[in-house]
């Protein structure tokens, strides 16, 4: 039987407090770890060492970076749209963190459990680009604005195949509750049933998180730093934090929908769960450090002409097969 935090802690407020603390701690530590991992993995792929000086294997490098960013001057440029500019880093961060709470990490535990878990996750994830648009619009910078426009177009385009691919899975599992979907994957994960769906989901997920080769909103060589060109210090760090947390969330969704979540032989559930999540993240890093970036219109073409038709076809085939089998 799945237990949630409110089952374990009777007091609602205490439960909320605990959940918030746990999520924040996880998001921060995870982002610190991921940035370090990314720098290390990329370094090794490029045949260098990466951070080595601070801590063992440079482990505390990102911690040091964050402390530095915290102590940096916060610059607000001239003629910005103040509310949007100041709110954007918070708006990008909060919903992303909320999404973290919805995943069962073991057979018997999830922080929050609702029967529309999947919908909530996508809803939270979809708010990210609003923040990006706020940042780009509010910055009074043309590069930021270009980045923001790209981000909006990209997110709208890629959310469709993302959800279509997830929809096929929910049709098979006949539930939107994440725990149910995981449970429904009896002896084999859905990636075997839905290989094309999984691929479409994963590609769209990488695009959703604005990671290379789909990182056009912050395309460094084109738009300087894209939507966060004008952000300094801690505000910039929040964007960073959100990006890495977002990576975790889409990987968690992929793990739950296609890889069987916490299921696996021998080892305990959380190990399997996080193992799969971090493997998917590793693949994301791997992609980023291998490929050049797509052009903006090619990205759109790819979404509308390849991914969406494929996802629709996939959905159609799934529905037909399900109907025939039942």
């Amino acid at each position: 039987m799945l237990k949630t935090l409110s089952d374990l802690v009777p007091n609602v407020f205490l439960a909320m407090l605990l959940a918030a603390a746990a999520i924040m701690a996880f998001a921060t530590v995870n982002a610190l770890f991921l940035v370090w991992l990314e720098r290390k993995v990329s370094a090794r792929m490029q045949r260098r060492y990466g951070p080595t000086v601070v801590g063992p294997f440079g482990m505390f490098q990102t911690l040091v970076d964050v402390v530095k960013l915290l102590s940096k001057q916060l610059i607000s440029p001239k003629d910005i749209d103040k509310p949007l500019y100041h709110l954007a880093p918070i708006v990008v961060f909060v919903p992303v963190v909320l999404g973290l709470s919805l995943f069962p990490i073991d057979k018997s535990f999830a922080l929050v459990d609702t029967n529309v878990g999947l919908v909530l996750v996508f809803a939270f994830a979809g708010m990210g680009f609003i923040a990006i648009f706020m940042a780009g619009w509010g910055s009074n910078n043309k590069y930021a604005l270009l980045g923001a426009m790209r981000a909006v177009a990209q997110n709208i385009a890629y959310e469709i195949p993302l959800i279509l691919a997830a929809l096929a899975v929910t049709m098979i599992a006949r539930s939107m509750r994440i725990a149910d979907i995981v449970e429904a994957q009896g002896s084999f994960p859905y990636i075997l049933v839905q290989p094309i769906g999984a691929l479409i989901y994963y590609i769209s997920a990488v695009a959703e998180t604005n990671r290379a080769p789909f990182d056009i909103p912050e395309a460094e060589s084109e738009l300087v730093a894209g939507f966060h060109t004008e952000y300094s210090g801690m505000r910039f760090a929040l964007f960073f934090l959100a990006e890495y947390t977002n990576m975790v969330i889409v990987s968690m969704v992929a793990t739950s929908l296609f890889l069987g979540g916490y299921k696996g032989p021998l080892l305990p559930g959380p190990v399997w769960f996080f193992g799969k999540v971090y493997f998917l993240i590793f693949v994301m890093l791997w992609l980023r450090w291998t490929f050049p970036r797509l052009r903006f219109d090619q990205l759109m073409t790819f979404a509308w002409k390849v991914l969406i038709p494929l996802a629709l076809a996939n959905l159609l085939v799934t529905a037909t097969v399900l109907k025939v089998m039942s």
């Binding site: 490029q46 060589s221 084109e222 450090w289 050049p292 219109d297």
Partner: protein, 392 residues
């Protein structure tokens, strides 16, 4: 389109005003807007500034604004004697500094009719071609960096480091060589140098397979390059575009073959050309050129004779006759010409450097019209400009 910003030179005036970031006012119709790309921009290869008029992400007009790397190289030549201009040459184009350095020596040798010993000629060919390969490798890396691929950049730099350490063995410098002297070179090469060079060629050929798997065949790379930034034959010839950019448009013009200098007429090599005239064609030509350079190096190593590296009587101080001399070589970016006007004194009256990057950049407004912002970066990367060479 009535505002004065559409008059020629309006943007340039904006660039030179007291406010360094000044741009022309926005289009009154609200259709287009201006974007300053550079001088500090990650993919401007230094300090180029492009003033782009954009409609959405489409480029309506592009005006390159140069001069941010102006160091008065040509003026400096008028202030010092022929010998003292030597270190400047390798700083005009620091990526193929060796070729420029040797080219200047050859120009002065032509002016003074100095015989260069055989061994020195062969050494010059080897180091110049190594330098060309290193320049192309750096271009390969930065081009991919412009396209968003970071790892190929580090791989190519790894290979480039090998060349640098080989050249370091004889020249003592890593980047801005001052290896040539009038009549020869400063240091003799030893057997180890030749062995290392041969070993490096083998290694680079092995690495090429990796590069092709990682980059050349990559579908994203191809889609970013194919049909993008077409500098066709006519445009190229009109603007005086040379080098790989011209050869990618199907014109097999290479100074090494068209007007052989040094001992280039003794080597067998092909002039790779392509017909696409787009980014991919330029990529293809450069990669194929690396192979040709390697062929030349191999032949030079096989043929290198023993002997002196400087003429018997080293030139110390001289006064050339009154006259004008032009000498051109094929640098990594195209035709590099040196035009020397001598008034009979030991100081050149005028040295004009015909640098390929300047002409190659000149066609940008034509080529960039109608492309996207992302393509701008890719095209600029593919023609391989070096800014101090543009500004001199």
């Amino acid at each position: 389109m009535t505002s004065d910003l559409h008059k020629p030179g309006a943007a340039l005036a904006a660039g030179t005003s007291a406010d360094p970031w000044a741009t022309p006012p926005a289009d009154p119709d609200g259709e287009t807007y201006y974007l300053n790309m550079g001088p500090q921009h990650p993919s401007m290869h230094g300090v180029l500034r492009l003033l782009l008029e954009l409609r959405g992400e489409e480029i309506v007009k592009c005006e390159p604004i140069i001069g941010y790397a102006h160091r008065a190289h040509e003026k400096m030549a008028e202030n010092r004697n022929y010998m003292m201009f030597l270190p400047n040459t390798s700083r005009v184009d620091y990526l193929s500094g060796m070729i420029y350095n040797i080219a200047y020596c050859q120009a002065v040798e032509k002016m003074l009719a100095i015989e260069v010993p055989e061994r020195a000629e062969h050494i010059r060919v080897i180091v110049c071609e190594l330098n060309r390969v290193s320049s192309h490798l750096l271009w390969f890396g930065t081009f991919l960096l412009d396209l968003g691929g970071i790892t190929p950049f580090l791989y190519s730099f790894d290979d480039r480091e090998q060349i640098l350490s080989i050249l370091d063995r004889v020249t003592g410098s890593r980047l801005t060589y001052c290896y040539g002297r009038f009549g020869g070179v400063t240091e003799d090469v030893d057997k180890k140098f030749l062995d290392e060079t041969t070993a490096f060629l083998a290694r680079l050929r092995g690495r090429m397979a990796e590069y092709h798997a990682l980059v050349t065949d990559n579908v994203i790379f191809r889609s970013r390059c194919e049909g993008v930034g077409v500098i066709d034959r006519e445009t190229a010839i009109e603007y005086g575009v040379t080098g790989p950019t011209l050869r990618a448009a199907g014109v097999p013009y290479d100074v090494r073959r068209a007007e052989p200098y040094g001992i280039y007429d003794r080597f067998e090599f092909d002039i790779p050309t392509a017909s696409g005239a787009d980014n991919l064609a330029r990529y293809y030509v450069r990669v194929a050129e690396m192979e040709q350079s390697m062929r030349i190096i191999e032949q030079a190593i096989a043929k290198i004779p023993d002997g002196p590296i400087m003429p018997e009587k080293a030139l110390k101080r001289f006064k050339p006759d009154v006259g004008e001399h032009y000498f051109a070589v094929e640098s990594a970016r195209g035709q590099f010409g040196i035009y020397i006007v001598s008034d009979g004194s030991d100081v050149p009256f005028r040295i004009k450097l015909r640098t390929p990057s300047f002409s190659n950049l000149a066609c940008m407004p034509d080529v960039l019209r109608g492309t996207m912002v992302a393509d701008t970066i890719a095209i600029l990367g593919s023609i391989d400009i070096v800014l101090p060479e543009v500004d001199r």
